[in-house]
């Protein structure tokens, strides 16, 4: 007997966010990254259209990271000291389709670089590489409120993705991103209620829901990944049922979490970190991640291959 696939009919869809602006769109990027737009749960290709496969962006820092495991530093070696060289290496050697720069050096405890200095770096970076850019603050609210507006202005018209805005600190960031034509990352602490509230608060500032990417906050494999998974699933079910306030694509900071796991830092088994990063990423793709921020080129290569296999045959 022929078997029939049981499928759901959904009324809603995830919003589509475009990162990067080409020359025709007023920017200088060589291409754009489109994420979101799903009309079905993750990977259920028969149920509804999944127009864009998940994308991976390479994470780079404005300062040399001191606490990264040796295995993670190895592929970048000397370039870690110079963000422009580091960026170049990602794009040239590892074919990065997007870059995510974390401005850690602006943090009061990590060098306290001035907003002007960081804005200058962003301008240089935009000249140096032509891939779409994701810009992250240093995580200190007071500093980010000075830093991110300066970087937003420096990248005006390039339609970057900038964050993270949190429930207690979103107004200044949202206002400047709105003025400069960027997208925003809305971060919530593995909490669907706060995620929804923050999206509403940001859209009340005038930044449309269609320019928000949600950072649901994740845990690595073995470190609470399933909590993130269930939050993402719940949010996606609501989005597909028509709730636009949670219908934003997800950004997942995969490397930041997976390289903190003790299993990833096992010196007797150095390849374990790559595996940890790749497995965390692939699990999150199945949870509905649209944009993955990763570090190790080998892990990224594996995940890109996984995406090609999974989404190529759709």
């Amino acid at each position: 007997m022929a078997w029939e696939l049981m499928t759901e009919k959904w009324s809603g869809e995830v919003s589509t966010v475009t990162i990067g602006a080409t020359k025709e769109e007023g920017g200088t990027r060589s291409h754009t990254l489109k994420i979101g737009g799903e009309k079905s749960l993750p990977c259920l290709f028969q149920e509804g259209n999944i127009p864009h496969e998940p994308k991976v962006a390479f994470e780079i820092w404005d300062i040399a990271p001191l606490d990264w495991p040796a295995e993670l530093m190895l592929p970048y070696a000397e370039t870690l000291r110079d963000p422009l060289e580091w960026a170049n290496k990602c794009v040239r050697d590892y074919k990065a389709q997007g870059l995510c720069i974390r401005l850690q050096g602006a943090h009061p405890d990590f060098g306290d670089k001035s907003p002007e200095e960081e804005a200058k770096l962003i301008r240089k970076l935009l000249k140096e590489v032509s891939v779409p850019l994701i810009i992250l603050g240093c995580g200190d609210d007071a500093k980010d409120n000075l830093l991110l507006p300066a970087c937003s202005e420096a990248a005006k018209g390039e339609r970057c993705l900038i964050g993270c805005a949190v429930q207690d600190n979103y107004k200044t960031i949202a206002t400047s991103l709105l003025a400069d034509g960027h997208n925003i990352i809305a971060e919530s602490p593995i909490d669907i209620n706060i995620a929804k509230q923050l999206n509403i608060l940001i859209s009340d500032m005038g930044l449309p829901l269609e320019r928000i990417v949600m950072n649901p906050t994740i845990g690595a494999l073995g470190y609470g990944l399933e909590y993130a998974y269930s939050i993402m699933e719940r949010s996606r079910l609501a989005a597909l049922s028509g709730d636009k306030t949670v219908a934003s694509p997800f950004i997942c900071f995969v490397a930041q979490e997976s390289w903190r796991a003790k299993e990833a830092k096992n010196e007797n088994s150095p390849e374990q970190g790559v595996i940890w990063e790749a497995l965390t990423a692939t699990a999150l793709i199945q949870a509905g991640a649209d944009l993955l921020i990763m570090r190790h080129p080998k892990a990224i290569q594996k995940v890109n291959q996984y995406i090609a296999n999974l989404f190529g045959g759709k």
Binding site: K196, Q197, I200, S203, V246
Partner: protein, 262 residues
């Protein structure tokens, strides 16, 4: 909850006057106002005073269609008026309503099939208004089985248990609520349920409170839709909160605003 706005009805002074004077703007204003308050569809009723409902119904529909593509709920017991409305309608339509009498079912179901309209089946018959839950269920089963026989998709059928005023038939309201739940198990797929909410508070002096309390309870019994006044803000707040408590929407501090943003 599928909300059908009840305010385009000739029995209201402003609409009665607008129909008489062919004041399209007033009808359109009333349509848009209800939609901005959360109506998913609009009930269209010429009212008892309309002298020429065969002309008034199409005129109302054309006026409303100029400003919205929302579904229209053609509210009349007159087959000719419904037919005139269906012919004029470009938007999706819902026929409001068919009773459980075979002559009504045998004309209105084919008509709904012909125009691709949804249908509200109201659980009354020539014998009168049902007096208890079992009678309601029997009438509902008649409507469902006739729809099945005539190839009408059950997911396009709304069953209305017929709400009676609390000051007239107080003893029946619990049965009416329980009917909502039982209608859902008549068939698979289940029919949807709706009701004309404002009936429950006719001639009482606490109308809004009774309306919203009854609606909240009906939602808990699984009500899918209601014909109501979407401009009653407290009623809408209660509706949104009842659905929230049933986990139909994700909570956030601004959940009322979030629902209205949808």
């Amino acid at each position: 909850m599928f909300i059908i706005g009840e305010l385009i009805n000739g029995m209201y002074d402003n609409i009665g006057r607008a129909i008489k004077e062919k004041d399209k703007k007033e009808i359109q204003r009333c349509a848009l106002e209800q939609i901005s308050c959360g109506a998913d569809a609009l009930d269209i009723n010429c009212g008892p005073a309309s002298k020429q409902p065969l002309l008034d119904m199409p005129w109302l529909i054309e006026s409303v269609q100029e400003v919205t593509a929302k579904p229209l709920c053609l509210d009349s017991s007159n087959l000719k008026v419904i037919t005139a409305g269906l012919k004029a309608a470009k938007n999706k339509t819902i026929i409001n309503s068919v009773t459980a009498d075979s002559e009504k079912l045998d004309t209105l179901i084919p008509l709904a099939n012909q125009f691709g309209a949804q249908l509200i089946g109201i659980t009354i018959s020539k014998k009168g208004i049902p007096q208890n839950k079992d009678q309601r269920l029997e009438l509902a089963a008649t409507i469902v089985s006739t729809c099945v026989d005539q190839g009408f998709p059950i997911e396009n059928l709304y069953l209305d248990p017929i709400v009676l005023p609390v000051n007239v038939a107080q003893a029946q309201l619990k049965d009416i609520l329980e009917s909502i739940r039982e209608f859902k198990i008549i068939s698979e797929p289940a029919p949807k349920t709706t009701l004309g909410l404002s009936n429950v508070s006719q001639s009482t002096n606490a109308r809004n409170l009774i309306n919203r309390t009854f609606l909240t309870m009906a939602i808990a019994y699984g009500l899918d839709s209601a014909i109501l006044d979407p401009k009653d803000n407290q009623l809408m707040d209660s509706l949104i909160t009842a659905e929230l408590i049933l986990n139909k929407n994700i909570y956030c501090d601004s959940y009322l605003e979030a629902y209205r943003k949808k």
